[in-house]
């Protein structure tokens, strides 16, 4: 029999800590120009232009984030990595990648390329589990950019 597989057996949710990130992909784009994000977080001022632009693209990637989901996920990702050098190092390659892709033809070509990158990651090894959700690292970084821009 398959006995106790019913709903009534489902109790005691596993408590997953915010730092439950198991595998973060390296994600470094070979040859990409790295953008310094030092001081990015908590600087109290406007974001550097490249970061600001990357965040715009990220918001476009999520269709404008009308429900604020990207902001919520991004905040969780930021909290998991901690706002500081670790987060900066994690975001740098993606910002560089977006900057390299952004040739002035609008957001769509960049978003398409990022979607392909996410799809590749989902089919590979470098997945990230954030609070139990299985995600591609790039989409979490995009969320973090949305969250940083506020």
């Amino acid at each position: 029999m398959t006995g106790p597989g019913g709903r009534g057996q489902r109790a005691e949710a596993g408590a997953i800590g915010r730092r439950d990130i198991l595998r973060a992909a390296g994600g470094v784009i070979a040859g990409a120009r790295l953008v310094s994000l030092v001081g990015l977080v908590g600087c109290g001022g406007a974001l550097p232009a490249e970061i600001h632009r990357a965040a715009e693209v990220a918001r476009s990637y999520f269709g404008g984030d009308p429900g604020g989901g990207a902001q919520t996920v991004g905040d969780a990702y930021r909290a998991a990595l901690g706002d500081g050098p670790r987060l900066e190092r994690d975001l740098e390659p993606l910002v560089a990648r977006i900057t390299a892709l952004d040739t002035g033809d609008g957001d769509d070509p960049v978003v398409t390329a990022l979607a392909a990158q996410v799809a590749d990651e989902l089919g590979g090894q470098g997945l990230v589990r954030l609070d139990g959700w299985t995600c591609a690292p790039t989409e979490l970084r995009l969320c973090a950019l949305v969250a940083l821009a506020g």
Binding site: T2, I16, G69, A76, L122, R129, G132
Partner: protein, 495 residues
């Protein structure tokens, strides 16, 4: 013929060509198949025709491993055995489940899927599940239903549903009318007595709950008492050999396996992301005795993926009810739905995952110091699911989640701890396997490919106790198929 062992004269010896101990799915299958073959078959059934507390109490024991259930859960001591309560889930093991996999220590049956396939077809008839067709593409196409397609790492496997066949009421009249089958009800085998050479069973010592004793002498014996009780009787028959009968390998009772049931939540964005009709029980165009056959798709990882990732087998049921009423840690599903990049409402499903358990010697049944009403030692079950398995389950679910995401269907939420282990209470499926495992090497198993014990020439074991590995399919179809195969072997051997 149905008889009442409580009315036997004290000390009487019953004789037969073949004695089957236990009238559950395996025992009844054997008795039916062997009837009309020129053999005198004697079946011993401990219980009644209904579930009764005094018989269930004989199953009680202790749990020293993973808990959450008791030894008198999930199994039923009556004519028809646990088919009295089973859910009817039928799926054969996959061909790859029979092979030796270096990442699953202890894997590798001494028989192949091909060896068992003819018996699977007979078992399918016995369990009234229609055609032996488990190709999801064929079944889905027949009903014009879509399958969830991944990137090649995801497959759809299929369960077929038995009515479910209740073996007791279904076959009681047939066995009562059989002149060559004698069923002694309320009869318990309590000791296996070997001959002087310790190479053959000489007789069984039997008892009834009201204290009567009698013996059974037969040419051959089949233990068909269930995944735990088979081991219990072998271990308890220690009057001549320390450690009991058929125990030269030291493996009787060891390698207990379940199908760990893992629960997770999956989020889809509605409307339109998912047409999951194939993944719920649904009728097909097939019918058996006027009953439409139902099937249900389940998600699984491909064999290639499991091998390359060194993972055990899993099957995942989609359920309408999400885990813990929708708990998904600190990030709500509605927020995560943004990752799908589709407009719509986040909707949570539950995933119920049956997982293959890597055989491990530490997961075992043993005799406790307590005794039941018959004077038999009770069992202690130490069910152990290793950290390696828990990590593998988490990885398997991670891949499953990634495939669902890549297909644009949604996201999977899986509770995992800091060490990467699946971190939610693991539940049993009520599937008891492996305690009298099959292996060609007498040092690594208790029975051989024909289900004969390596140590004792005329002693066989039927049921899920002989499973070398358990795959991710409910065991009933396979254990009935093994009983069919054993019946064919006995017919050939006695011809």
């Amino acid at each position: 013929m149905l008889r009442d062992a409580r009315t036997l004269a004290p000390g009487v010896e019953l004789t037969a060509d073949l004695c089957i101990v236990g009238a559950g799915a395996a025992g009844i299958t054997l008795a039916r198949r062997l009837s009309g073959r020129g053999l005198r078959v004697l079946v011993l059934e401990s219980g009644s025709f209904e579930i009764e507390a005094q018989h269930q109490a004989l199953y009680a024991g202790t749990m020293s491993g993973l808990g959450g259930w008791t030894l008198d859960d999930h199994r039923w001591r009556l004519f028809g055995g646990s088919t009295a309560r089973w859910g009817g889930f039928c799926m054969p093991l996959r061909p790859g489940d029979f092979t030796a996999r270096d990442h699953i220590p202890g894997s590798g049956w001494p028989i192949t899927f091909g060896d068992l396939e003819p018996s699977y077809r007979l078992a399918s008839q016995g369990l009234e599940i229609g055609d032996f067709e488990y190709d999801a593409a064929v079944l889905a196409a027949a009903d014009d239903l879509p399958l969830i397609e991944g990137s090649g790492r995801l497959e759809t496997h299929v369960f077929r549903f038995s009515p479910p066949t209740r073996m007791g009421p279904r076959h009681r009249a047939e066995l009562a009318a059989a002149d060559d089958v004698e069923v002694q009800m309320w009869a318990n085998a309590i000791d296996i007595v070997l001959d002087d050479g310790l190479a053959r069973v000489d007789h069984l010592l039997c008892a009834t709950l009201d204290g009567a004793r009698f013996t059974v002498a037969a040419d051959r014996y089949v233990l068909a008492m269930g995944g735990l009780e088979n081991a219990r009787l072998l271990l308890a028959s220690g009057s001549q050999i320390d450690g009991g009968v058929a125990g030269s390998s030291g493996l009787v009772g060891a390698y207990f396996m379940e199908h760990p049931h893992l629960y997770s939540s999956a989020m889809w964005v509605e409307p339109g992301a998912l047409d999951a009709r194939f993944y719920g029980p649904h009728p097909t165009g097939e019918a058996v005795a006027g009953r439409r056959i139902e099937v249900c798709g389940v998600l699984a990882l491909s064999e290639e993926t499991r091998d390359s990732e060194r993972l055990p087998h899993i099957t995942a049921f989609l359920e309408e009810a999400p885990l813990d009423g929708g708990a998904t840690g600190s990030i709500p599903a509605a927020a995560v739905s943004v990752l799908a990049r589709r407009a719509g409402r986040a909707r949570l499903f539950g995933l119920t995952i049956r997982a293959e358990q890597t055989p491990t010697r530490e997961s075992a049944v043993s005799l406790s110091d307590e005794r039941d009403a018959l004077g038999m030692p009770r069992l202690d079950l130490r069910w152990v699911v290793s950290d390696g398995d828990r990590i593998a389950y988490a990885r398997a679910m991670e891949i499953l989640g990634a495939e669902l995401a890549a297909a644009g269907l949604g996201r999977l939420w899986t509770p995992v701890d800091q060490l990467g282990r699946f971190d939610h209470p693991i539940r049993p499926g009520g599937h008891h396997m492996g305690t009298v495992r099959m292996h060609a090497d007498p040092a690594r198993g208790v029975v051989d490919a024909s289900c004969r014990t390596h140590d004792v020439d005329n002693l066989y074991v039927a049921g899920s106790a002989v499973f070398t590995t358990g795959g991710a399919a409910n065991p009933t179809l396979t254990l009935v198929a093994l009983a069919e195969r054993l019946a064919a072997h006995l017919i050939e051997e006695t011809a």
